[in-house]
Amino acid sequence: MVASNKKSIIEFAVQGEIVPAIPLRNYWVTWDGKPKMAIGVGGINYNLKIGEKVFGWANGDRAEPGVSTDGTGKDAWILGYRLYSCIGNEARVLSGEGKGEKGIVIGKHGLRAFQQRGAHHVQLHFEEEVLDVLAIGDKIQVKACGVGLHIMGYEDVRLLSLSPNLLDKMGVYEEDEKLVVPVVKEIPNFLISQGAGERPSEQGNWSIQTCFPPDIKKYGLNELRFGDILLLKDVQSDYGRGQYKNGVTIGVVCCGPSDIAGKGIGATNILSTRSGRIKGTIDSEANIANYLGL
């Protein structure tokens, strides 16, 4: 565990609701010109769980594990919900049959969070018996905690969408003046795509392309699971996201693969640096399901 300024982080409420599944009215077109009824974005996905493999789900395209939520009310409130919620924060159901039940933030998936047309979801994990009683439209309140978090001595390493709760449990340690982060896999930069150019970095995710089929086995993408911690090489997410030689971004797998050109497996960024002060160590158990006891 590394020392952080967690004691000075403000914890406050943000509110949202469970959103419907959002298939397109028409077919998506895949990278090779085939129509696809793509499913999995939005809604309550009963059988997509944190810790499960991302591949193998029929018609899935960027499918999201758990319960998908978004902010409600004025545009600025919606943006607040999207930007301030952090992975590991506690969520509470405020309405409906599941009122009072608690869950946890497990990812953030989306683009253009500050535009109304941008689709952006904060994903929550709830226990099985709670999933059964939740409904689309149920109100959710998240204890947002993590904006402003930094690691002592590493103030140039940006922490994004990361709760003190998860940071303390991720097994990060110091070695040779670098932060060492246990990760399931290191992903080469040429696979990393959508998410570039998006800002602020506190919203949404990077994508790892799955539109060139030989990459999937070659780089072990077929082994990835929802919630896996990854190291994205030569990309930085400090103030917006972009390719950056020797940059490092640590991400949490938040959605599944895609057949659409340039889209792919989502990874919510939680640490970023241009300074070269993060490195990874391979650990096949580096998954938030293990760290957060899900």
């Binding site: 998506w28 077109v29 895949t30 990278w31 090779d32 010109g33 683009l111 047309r117 930069n189 040429f190 696979l191 990393i192 795509s193 959508q194 998410g195 570039a196 150019g197 998006e198 800002r199 602020p200 994508s207 392309q209 539109c211 060139f212 030989p214 990459d215 930085q236 997410s237 400090d238 103030y239 917006g240 996201r241 972009g242 390719q243 950056y244 030689k245 940059g247 895609s258 659409i260 050109a261 340039g262 889209k263 792919g264 241009r274």
Partner: protein, 294 residues
Amino acid sequence: MKTNRDSLIITAVQGVIQPPSSRGYTVTWDGRPKLSVGTASISYTVQVGDLAFGQAGADHIEPGVTIQGRDRSVPSECALAILACIGNEAKVISGEAKGAKGVYTGRHAGSDDMVWFPNEVLEKLALLDKIQIRACGVGLEIEGFEDVRVNKISPRLLHKMELSEKGGQLIVPVTKEVPGFLMGSGIGSDPCVETNDYDIQTTCPEYVAKYGLQEIRLGDIVAIKDHYCAYGRGRYEGAMTIGVVIHGWSDSSGHGPGINPVLSALPGRMRIKKDLHANIAFYLGLRKKPEILI
């Protein structure tokens, strides 16, 4: 080279000259505030053929005149955005410059469509003047290369690009070849290649120097290696995409000069040859080709 140009429909599409807007300070890739200029409006100082880099305060600089469709509430859903092709004839249909002719030079999704007019016409134009384009190019195919996706390019420009054929491959003159991993904002977005450009990232100093990105000019024809843009924009090892540079540099992470893909093919169907004069300003006679390139 033969094409199906005689079977293409020519249809009128319309837009108005779009006033510039601002969101105040944005943040650069290295955490500096910036008040950006250069998108929308009538540019009296930047035209196709000029360098894409170097204008003070510029970000995503758009040459010439920027217009937006008004037939639907979202500009990227307007006929202008989808149907107009680079090289199509434009005409001013309202205001002091009524009747003046120009040339459509590309589309920057997020700000919108650009038109070249001679300098004397620029002086008479006013924001919100109506511009109508004779849109022609959707459905264009090259005989013998029907598998090469042709997009957003007028028959007139395609025939002037000095394409040739050898050994079953289409040979395309380009000013530069850019590695696919450098492609950022716009990658993976809506599969419709007609409406979305995507950016060559200029926010890593090491890559800028290595790939000579400061040499890029507005209107340049460039090659994107290992990218396939038939139905979207994304990675495909061995594929090749040819693009026209339609807007300028950026300091926002993941952004940079935008390109409209105009030709794209799977491995083995296209080859490039270097030509520093491969620029639509020269091909369309908007600028005189220099005898010696300075």
